[in-house]
């Protein structure tokens, strides 16, 4: 005997994501989900971002890792509203973990919440956290083939970053090929090339963040990205 079901297996995650979206909306907080490989420079970018924007707007960060509170300790030097989420082996953050993390932050005092996902280009892409935008981050030492190998991140990101451009003279990386591969997946992909550590290109990223925070929300809750 067949029992028809037709139900999303990620239903529980998506319900928590919608709750997060509603909570963030009520608190007037815009939320970014930052996704990139381990070592691509997410935490360094956030250190620079917090240090530059801290005087302009209150920013909070939830930082996800399998283990340690090292990232939270690094970021806490630049910002008071930081909380670490340890997944204990989990390869991505889910909406419930983010909900618990949000509960540890002074949400009503914030304008922007950045969720630094667990370093991974694969699993985090499929989980809606309740964010308003997704930022996909690549870096030069990873190689120029990463967009072609991870098309879903390219398709679903509102902005793509290529970090560590200061290393371009030192490692094999075909920048034109990287751009071509992006364009083969999505010719309207927004890409910013920068070096978080040297500061090159950082201002364009900060401008993007400022515009993102200032932009009016869509009237209806966006569909789960």
């Amino acid at each position: 005997m067949e029992i028809p079901v037709v139900e999303n297996v990620l239903k529980h995650n998506d319900q928590f994501a919608q709750l997060n979206r509603q909570t963030l909306r009520e608190a007037g907080v815009r939320c970014l989900n930052l996704i990139g490989s381990p070592g691509c420079g997410k935490t360094t970018l956030l250190e620079k971002t917090l240090s530059a924007l801290g005087g302009e707007m209150p920013v909070g960060v939830l930082t996800g890792d399998i283990a340690t509170t090292r990232d939270a300790q690094r970021l806490a030097r630049h910002c008071r509203a930081v909380s670490q989420i340890n997944t204990g082996g989990g390869c991505h953050l889910d909406a419930n973990q983010v909900r618990e993390g949000m509960g540890r932050l002074p949400l009503k005092e914030l304008k922007l919440l950045i969720v630094e996902n667990v370093g991974n280009l694969i699993c985090p892409v499929g989980f809606d956290l309740g964010h308003d935008a997704k930022v996909g981050m690549f870096s030069v030492p990873e190689g120029d083939d990463k967009p072609a190998k991870h098309p879903r991140l390219v398709l679903e990101s509102d902005l793509l970053l290529l970090n560590k451009t200061d290393l371009l003279p030192h490692v094999p990386f075909d920048l034109d090929g990287f751009r071509r591969d992006l364009a083969a997946i999505r010719e309207d992909a927004s890409l910013l090339e920068l070096s978080a550590s040297s500061g090159d290109g950082l201002e364009a990223w900060l401008e993007w963040v400022r515009a993102f925070v200032a932009a009016p929300r869509a009237s209806a809750a966006p569909a789960a990205p």
Partner: protein, 116 residues
Amino acid sequence: MHEMSIVQSLLEQVRSFMPGRAVLKDVHLEVGGLEHLDGEVMQTVFTALTDGSELAGAALRIVRIPVRIRCRSCGHEYEPEDTAVLLCPECGVVQPEILQGTGVLLKSLEIEERSD
């Protein structure tokens, strides 16, 4: 590797739909072609998590749903062979809207009434 958490969610869902006096035979699952999920790993996890439970012996039947794209420029719909090359075969523009190919859907359960 998030097959484990997906299969755990799936089994919670399956249990919520199981009538009291029934034996689970098959779980029919649809997995989008853009989902980063390995079917073999899901099978292994499914067996490991059902073994020794009331669901032991059930089979997980996975159907991959192909990626389907609509071109935002000319409206043509197509199924790309390679998800890293999404240009529209009709107009040559790369402005894909994903119509199908994401998500994990529990479609149905096949059960047998318990005879005892």
